[in-house]
């Protein structure tokens, strides 16, 4: 059954059609990669799914329920989590408090601290709990974003270019983390790094100029002539 299902989503920004008439289905438990050239509309599309951006037209269903009119915070409560492409941590607060804010939405009391500790350990930031988040390196801030997503134990985890700015070893750890989540958590992963896409995604959706160009397994997508053309700019 589809956990998430979008129909006819479009968004225009002052005349610019960032997303056109996209249908999108995501089955429970799947890891889906969303790829496409810069400016293809990936961030805009997931923004409409999680409620940050109001669609011009179209509907979104989550777990069988029409959520098109729900504000973002209500969608998050239904079990979505979103990590920002442009790092949006609480720079003035310490690392543990950043994750605790995400955790307190579902936990209270002592359970918060242990969930925070576990989430930080999972992304490799265990030693940084007391540090001010704004003082972290860029890559570590990205990892903190991921920890804030994980600690919510969402049913649908939306990650917008999580590996941007990560070191090679951190990317390897990230792949392992996603494989670990697969099956329990549904993951929608916007990603430019093809090795991450190929090694973690069950299926791949390709967005180009705001339209859904192709959808298939990583191998199918790799062999797809249209996708190659879009990426090489000859399409």
């Amino acid at each position: 059954m589809s956990l998430l299902s979008a129909r006819g989503l479009s968004k225009s920004f002052a005349g610019l059609q960032a997303v056109r008439n996209v249908d999108f289905d995501l089955p429970q438990g799947e890891v889906r990669a969303l790829i496409g050239p810069n400016g293809a509309g990936k961030t805009t599309l997931v923004g409409m799914i999680c409620g940050r951006i109001a669609p011009t037209v179209g509907t979104v269903h989550f777990d069988g329920r029409d959520i098109t009119r729900l504000p973002a915070h209500r969608r998050i409560r239904l079990g979505m989590a979103y990590t920002f492409q442009i790092t949006a941590i609480f720079a003035g607060l310490d690392v543990a408090e950043n994750v605790a804010l995400a955790a307190r939405r579902r936990l209270t009391g002592d359970a918060v601290a242990s969930a925070v500790e576990a989430a930080l350990a999972r992304v490799g930031l265990a030693g940084h709990a007391g540090q001010e988040a704004g003082d972290l390196s860029y890559g570590h801030q990205r990892l903190l974003e991921i920890a804030m997503g994980l600690v919510q134990e969402p049913r649908l985890l939306i990650l917008d270019e999580p590996t941007q700015g990560l070191a090679e070893a951190e990317i390897t750890a990230f792949k392992a983390l996603i494989r670990d989540l697969a099956g329990n958590t549904t993951v929608l992963l916007i990603e430019h790094n093809m090795s991450v896409v190929m090694e973690t995604a069950h299926r791949v959706s390709v967005l180009n100029f705001g339209e859904m160009l192709a959808e298939g397994t990583p191998d199918e997508i790799r062999g797809n002539a249209d996708v190659q053309a879009a990426y090489l700019g000859t399409g």
Binding site: F90, L93, A100
Partner: protein
Amino acid sequence: MKIAVLHIGLLALLFALQFVLPAYHHGNLARIMVLASYAVGYNVLFGYTGLLSLGHALFFAAGMYGMALTIDHLGWSPAPALIAGLVAGLIVSAALGVLALRTAGVAFMIVTLMFAQAGYLTILYFAEWTHGDEGFVIQQAQRVLWGIDLSDPSNRYFAALALFSVSLLVCLWLVRRPFGRTLVAIRENEERTAMLGYDTFAHKLGAVVISGMISAAAGASYGLLFGYAGATFASVQYSIFPLLWVLLGGAGTVLGPFIGTLFMFYLIDLSSGITTAYMLIAGVVLVALTLFAPQGLAGEVRRRIWSWLP
């Protein structure tokens, strides 16, 4: 633990000072404690939630007039009159919050300023009941709470201390609760907070109401303890004061409002003893502090020495 010692310690010190201070400073400190409670209320919204209001005089005055008008016209005794002041603060802050929170940033400042101005003009307009600019005195006989004469300096001091203690401890409790932490998160990054599943509008409205009610409690107490209600307390000046006190003492610190109020009170008091151009001295000191201690006095202490300061 350190936190409890520090804050309870301050309250204990204020308690002890009652017995040793000379009459003049004793009276000042009572006034400072009431005004500092007002600043504590302001700080909940400005320091912790990051919302800059220019209309808090509306809440202070709502409390003051809610108390004073029920005594003056309905002949209520102080206890129910104080409650009337609090209810007035609740109603006014909830109404203002619902309307003003549709805006943000500079627009929020302007909308709050406008509402407070409207409140001020309303007090002047209904001069028949409010005695407008002149205000009115609350007689000594009307200021006896449970047999305690609040016009007596010692009683007044203890009443002011009780109000300040409650305000301070409520603030301390609040900012350590998940609700208060969420307010800080809204201050730091509102969109991020919403994307963690928090209803940021409801939290901000809660902050406006808590802030408004503490301010109203201070306004009602001020009228009752010092025996006077007047339109000055609803003027722009009284919206700017708590902003200055909080900025000086340290926005987003529990002790900052008290330190700022104390500091500014004595700054003006001392400099007016030296020269008639005391506002000039006060101005220069304020500018210097903004330059060299931009986070306020308690804010600098937190930054440099006690990073655990709430």
